[in-house]
């Protein structure tokens, strides 16, 4: 056995050119697989972080049942207690209180329903990105007690322009009817019509006045440092905050985003499977060719008394050694390239001009390396290499020594 490992190893060096090509095929194949998978993972994550940055944030905390009804009677009783609980969580980048309520909006002779968001402008701007998407005017500042920011579709429907005074009518928490007038100071355009048509923004204190929710809020929105940690964060928060409080992650807040992510993952799986096949065919051919061209050599070995099984073993052993070297090189190469790009990001704006002008779509993709995936791919590629060698190895062992030496042909 030891002898054969030695012979196999020497064969690899003796035919350094052939070995080089085989290793190249294996290494580039594996490297590409690692990169493509990381790239797809990065794209999916970017999609989530872009979509959650419009409005939803990564996690929202409400009183149980609030999300479904948006009822003013389900406002958080004591948000500051929850805030202090959250404050010592590690994975949170920023959090902010909000008041989210259905209201009736009227301007001139038109009235329509809308959802009013009372936000803390400074903190909110670190969590969501609508303030970057202003088409006219500006987003709220802390001092804009009577300012309101509306979406483009809503502004068109009401014929609103900057300075228009809209009145807002709503059910307040004390049972009375809250009413207030706000001046339009900004019109945003996210391009998502379910946002642009529905959501209007005022400052948190203004909303607290309107709904008689002084010192209170209906929800807390959280941006996590890393999207991957959201699931853990969600479960630890919901354990800590206990009964009566709902802690929802983005999957619950925007279920269609989850569908979209699952859909993309599934599609990526199909693509990766085919890419894997292509890589496997490349390796198979390289290994096959390297055996077929060596018929004469095997003939001589057999004439000298090498047993059939030993020839088979030798070929498989060679493939295994080549595969191992290729997998190590490909794995390390893929790892290095992907992690460099993962840090730097792949700037898509150079491919598509519209991305530059739009804050709404992901423009830089950061590939995500996952060790489990690298190990899985490396194992599969090594297996393919060994399997690829079995057929020619068995065939090589069946040669007639004399015919093989004379003709160099397999038949």
């Amino acid at each position: 056995m030891k002898t054969f490992i030695k012979i196999a190893w020497r064969n690899i060096f003796r035919n350094w050119r052939r070995s080089f090509f085989a290793i190249l095929a294996i290494a580039t194949g594996l490297g590409a697989l690692i990169f493509v998978w990381a790239f797809v993972d990065g794209t999916n994550q970017q999609e989530v972080s872009t979509y959650t940055s419009f409005l939803s944030g990564h996690i929202q905390i409400h009183k149980t049942g609030f999300q479904r009804e948006l009822s003013v009677f389900r406002a958080l009783d004591n948000p500051s207690a929850i805030l202090s609980e959250i404050a010592h969580q590690e994975n949170i980048e920023e959090f902010s209180e909000r008041i989210e309520q259905r209201v009736l909006l009227s301007f001139a002779d038109k009235t329509s329903g809308a959802i009013l968001m009372g936000v803390d402008p400074e903190k909110e701007s670190k969590i969501t990105t609508l303030w970057k998407m202003m088409e006219h005017g500006r987003f709220l500042g802390p001092a804009d007690q009577s300012g309101i920011v509306v979406g483009k579709d809503l502004a068109e429907r009401f014929n609103l322009s900057l300075g228009s005074e809209v009145s807002v009518l709503a059910q307040a928490a004390d049972g009375s009817l809250g009413a207030a007038k706000f001046k339009v100071i900004g019109i945003y355009h996210s391009g998502i019509d379910t946002i642009d048509r529905v959501y209007v923004f005022v400052t948190l204190p203004a909303a607290q006045d309107l709904f008689a929710l002084w010192g209170r809020a209906t929800g807390i929105v959280i941006k996590a440092k890393k999207i991957e940690s959201v699931t853990n964060l969600q479960s630890s928060l919901s354990k800590e905050l206990g009964q009566g409080i709902e802690v929802l992650d983005w999957r619950k807040i925007i279920p269609e985003l989850e569908t979209s992510v699952i859909l993309h993952e599934v599609e990526a799986t199909i693509i990766l499977a085919i890419v894997f096949l292509i890589v496997a065919i490349g390796i198979l051919n390289t290994v096959l060719m390297s055996v077929v061209e060596r018929v004469r050599e095997f003939g001589i070995m057999m004439a000298l008394g090498t047993a059939n099984l030993q020839i088979t073993m030798l070929v498989v052993m060679e493939a295994f050694l080549l595969g191992t070297v290729g997998v190590i090189l490909g794995g390390v190469g893929g790892l290095i390239v992907t992690s460099i790009l993962g840090k730097r990001g792949i700037d898509l704006t150079s491919y598509m001009e519209f991305l530059q002008a739009s804050p709404r779509t992901p423009d830089i993709i950061y590939p995500i390396l996952r060790l489990d995936r690298i190990i899985l791919l490396a194992g599969l590629v090594l297996m393919v290499t060994i399997f690829a060698s079995i057929y020619p190895a068995v065939k090589a062992a069946r040669y007639q020594p004399v015919v093989a030496i004379r003709t160099g042909e397999t038949v």
Partner: protein
């Protein structure tokens, strides 16, 4: 000419080597072609999923309607448009609708929603709602007082099948109209926004309560080929003008979706480029090896008087022959695979069962054959093939015959 013959004979002389090289090219190309056709299929599916809920490829409204959703701003001569749509061969289906904001009252709550009057059989061919009924039944043309509501809305209003809901709308004649409807079916598209805010009744009942007579507010159009949307939009605009009619494609209605889809497409193309490089390296290895292994043979040829340039020429012809055979086989296998998969389709929910929670989603992907996407990789691969075999043959041709013969 002689070299063409020699090259062809060389191809046939070593069937094993030829078979391996041809299969490297053929199989690599076949799966690459399949990959591209699937990418095209995914792109089409993505668009269908985005427009399948509500939009259709094109929407036709009276100018000003989309700003206000006011039933008064209805299409005046919808027959003229539907006649045109009937005759045009690019149109697959269309659906006439009335859309208006309304209030819904149940015994326990009230909710502002978008009320949509539909012709049930027409609408079923345009959007997914009819396929996502989770309880009860879909609407029937003859239903006068039946209503379809979403799952979330049913929960919010606390109503169940067969129970009554009061619909309040402001009618076209300026009065406030109120009518009771019975819940006939509950749909669950999985998209919360739809399940929360859309409600369907028949077109006739919508026309009745809104006093619209025979008018409709929207025509949603689905095309046979999504790619022709701009073309059809332009033809419609030329025919009916831009003044009274507001004709928009889904791309104008949902620009963000267009961007997301374009982005997805861009990423697919980047992946395709990488995969092509990997495939080309795999193919190149095989070709390179098959030429290098013949250095001794070239030495022999040179020893009996063949010039180096003729050897290079011979190798180029050989690689063109092999390349063309490989490409033909590759495209044939690729097209057979595409057609076979196209017939059954790929059910995405087999890979992730989580997708079954979204009944409104089209889960089947069908690969699409685009001729250019067969030709481009084929030609590129032929080029790679010739270039790759050029290198070792030029190198061998530069050796002295004796060196080449001794080459290991």
């Amino acid at each position: 000419m002689l070299f063409l013959k020699i090259a062809w004979k060389n191809v046939l002389r070593r069937p094993t080597r030829t078979a391996i090289t041809v299969s490297a090219i053929g199989l690599g190309l076949a799966f690459f072609v399949l990959l591209w056709s699937l990418a095209d299929g995914l792109y089409a599916q993505l668009i269908n999923n985005s427009i399948g809920f509500q939009l259709g490829h094109l929407q036709i409204n009276a100018t000003g309607f989309r700003q206000e959703y006011n039933p008064k701003i209805a299409l005046n001569e919808s027959d003229k448009i539907t006649d045109w749509l009937e005759k045009d061969k690019r149109i697959k289906n269309y659906s006439k609708r009335i859309e208006t904001p309304a209030f819904l009252y149940s015994a326990t709550g009230s909710m502002g929603i978008l009320l949509t009057g539909i012709n049930p059989s027409e609408e079923a061919k345009v959007t997914v709602i009819s396929r996502t009924i989770s309880a009860g039944d879909y609407l029937d043309e003859r239903d006068e007082r039946s209503i379809l509501i979403g799952k979330y809305l049913a929960e919010n209003l606390g109503v169940d099948l067969g129970e009554k809901l009061i619909v309040t709308v402001s009618a076209a004649d300026g009065t406030l109209a109120q009518e009771a409807f019975r819940v006939k079916g509950i749909f669950n598209t999985g998209v919360e926004n739809f399940d929360k805010s859309l409600v369907f009744i028949t077109l006739a009942s919508a026309q009745r309560i809104l006093t619209l007579e025979k008018k409709v507010s929207t025509i949603a159009v689905v095309l046979k080929e999504g790619a022709k949307v701009e073309e059809v939009e332009q033809d419609l605009k030329n025919e009916f003008g831009n003044v009274i009619y507001d004709i928009r494609s889904w791309k104008e209605i949902m620009p963000i979706i267009v961007q997301m889809i374009d982005l997805f497409n861009l990423i697919l193309y980047l992946v395709l480029e990488i995969v092509f490089v990997v495939m080309a390296i795999g193919v190149s290895n095989t070709i390179l090896m098959s030429v290098i292994e013949r250095t001794r043979e070239f030495g022999m040829l040179m020893a009996i008087g063949t010039s180096g340039s003729r050897i290079v020429k011979m190798v180029i012809f050989e690689s063109i022959f092999i390349g063309i055979i490989g490409i033909i086989i590759g495209n044939a296998i690729g097209i057979i695979l595409i057609l076979a998969i196209g017939r059954i389709g790929i059910d995405l929910s087999l890979i992730s069962s989580a997708l079954r929670n979204y009944p409104g989603l089209m889960r089947m992907v069908y690969p699409v054959i685009v001729i250019q996407h067969l030709i481009i990789p084929s030609l590129l691969l032929l080029l790679v093939n010739v270039l790759v075999s050029l290198y070792p043959s030029v190198k061998a041709a530069r050796l002295k015959p004796m060196e080449a013969i001794r080459f290991i």
